[in-house]
Amino acid sequence: MATVATAPTGPSAVHEKFSKGPGLVGTLIFVAVLVVGISYIGWSLSRDLANLHVSSVLPYFLLGLALFVALGFEFVNGFHDTANAVATVIYTHTLDPHIAVVWSGFFNFLGVVTSTGIVAFGIISLLPVELILQVGSNAGFAMVFALLVAAILWNLGTWYFGLPASSSHTLIGSIIGVGITNQLMNARSGTSGVDWGQAANVGKSLLISPIVGFICAGLLLVTKVLVKDKSCTRRPKAARHRRSGFAAC
């Protein structure tokens, strides 16, 4: 592939890589992971539930539905957050997009599996306590589904427009929404079911994060001074080590 007719610039090379599907091997890995994962989950679930004797099918149906929605939330979450982590690597041509995504996905996996669950239960303690105590009731299910569906909708919406929004904020917003509505529907005065401290935290982070991010400008200037080599701050050339059509820019 030494036909170098034009000299494609960095971005178009990136786009070429984007449009180049994941390939046969990639698809196979994808499917394999999916199959292994689902069978492991199914096996564990059936083992856990084996000694359980429930007369009706309804709990199983609800369980399946709820699990599906919850995993759907994580799925959409993955659209957003990991994408942030790989964006810079891809545009600087450090890694091929597909490798970068799989790489990042793998480490995400490790991160999740090794996590302790402290944050998980921290999220739960933000919810109205009376709903936690009766989580098996209709109100409990209404709460869980309302949370998940609201979060999925907003995450999907922002993703569609390509806006990197924070899914933590989305979830906290949903929790507060459920808290307030629960308060209103029970006609209890005040907003004690809502953790306003968390809302304030989100507000603060909206102020702090962009400012902290802009400190980057300073960091970049420092590297510019330290690294005299101008090529570093120029637009990166398409990966030179790849002997492909767009190697010659």
Binding site: N84, V86, V113, G117, T181, S209, V227, T233
Partner: protein, 283 residues
């Protein structure tokens, strides 16, 4: 590349947990007999639990006020958690609750033996105790001596071990969902971050600077307890490097980004509030 690895790892360990918490809630709601209590706790550990629980009740006993009236202890503790206002009754109710949990545990001997119809109540009592202890510790009210605080902390860790656990398969399921989500939907976000924030595309130095800042911020945020969002830091980091490089910013995109960030909270609140109301009416 290292920063990307680290970012994915930390992000996964942090973000995946949101889903896990909710999944556990669902599991506890639908099949409490299996998931409400940690069946991996051994009978020896339950013996431990009973001993620690006695210590905790003794410690709390020192702080029970004379004026406290005996009410429904569950209601009292629930009220405390909801309002976070410490009342004279709270401590008495807490002591009763801890005693109850300890006595029941002594009866069952093993968490697997808890009868099906009592699992939920038993778990709820433990949950209430743990939450109430957490709030007391956080607010510093009432003032508790260091020795007693240590006893209570130890007790709380025992309770949490029995109720706050996540089966491996849940973690695996969440991890797979997250990973597959990334592989399917990463393009849109990546294009925005890489191309649409600045007028030029990212350079090596910019990418590195933005990533390093994002990483450093996660670390610093943990250390100082600052509320920051990695997403926001990274995006504005990219914008910052663009500004410093004088490449110019695409204000349309930046405006959309800011709009989305500010709108996230109110929109999510309204949506979930409405859905909750609708679901409550339907069910």
């Amino acid at each position: 590349m290292l920063t990307c690895t680290g970012g994915s790892f930390f992000h996964g360990s942090n973000d995946g947990q949101k889903g896990m918490g909710l999944i556990m809630l669902i599991l506890i709601g639908t099949v409490p007999t299996t998931y409400a209590l940690n069946h991996a706790i051994t009978p020896t550990q339950t013996q431990d639990f009973i001993a620690v629980s006695r210590q905790a009740a003794d410690s709390l006993n020192k702080y029970v006020e004379q004026s406290a009236a005996i009410g429904d202890h569950r209601d009292d503790v629930t009220d405390f958690i909801r309002s976070k206002e410490f009342k004279p009754n709270t401590m008495l109710a807490m002591r009763t609750l801890i005693n109850d949990v300890g006595t029941e545990m002594a009866q069952f001997k093993d968490l697997k033996n808890v009868p099906n119809d009592q699992v939920r109540n038993f778990r709820n009592d433990m949950y209430l105790t743990s939450e109430a202890l957490r709030i007391m510790q956080k607010s510093g009210k009432p003032a508790i001596s260091a020795a007693d605080a240590a006893v209570l902390k130890n007790y709380k860790s025992h309770i949490d071990k029995a109720t706050r656990f996540i089966p491996l398969w849940v973690k695996v399921a969440v991890a797979i969902a997250l990973g597959l989500g990334t592989m399917v939907g990463w393009k849109r976000i990546v294009v925005t971050v890489g191309e649409k924030i600045g007028k030029n595309h990212l350079t090596y130095a910019q990418g590195a600077a933005a990533e390093i800042t994002a990483m450093a911020t996660i670390g610093a945020a943990d250390y100082f307890g600052l509320p920051v969002s990695t997403t926001h830091v990274l995006s504005s980091g990219v914008a910052g490097t663009m500004a410093a490089n004088r490449s110019g910013l695409q204000w349309g995109t930046v405006r959309n980004l800011l709009m989305a960030w500010v709108l996230t909270l109110p929109v999510a609140m309204t949506l979930s509030g409405f859905l909750f109301w609708a679901f409550r009416k339907i069910f």
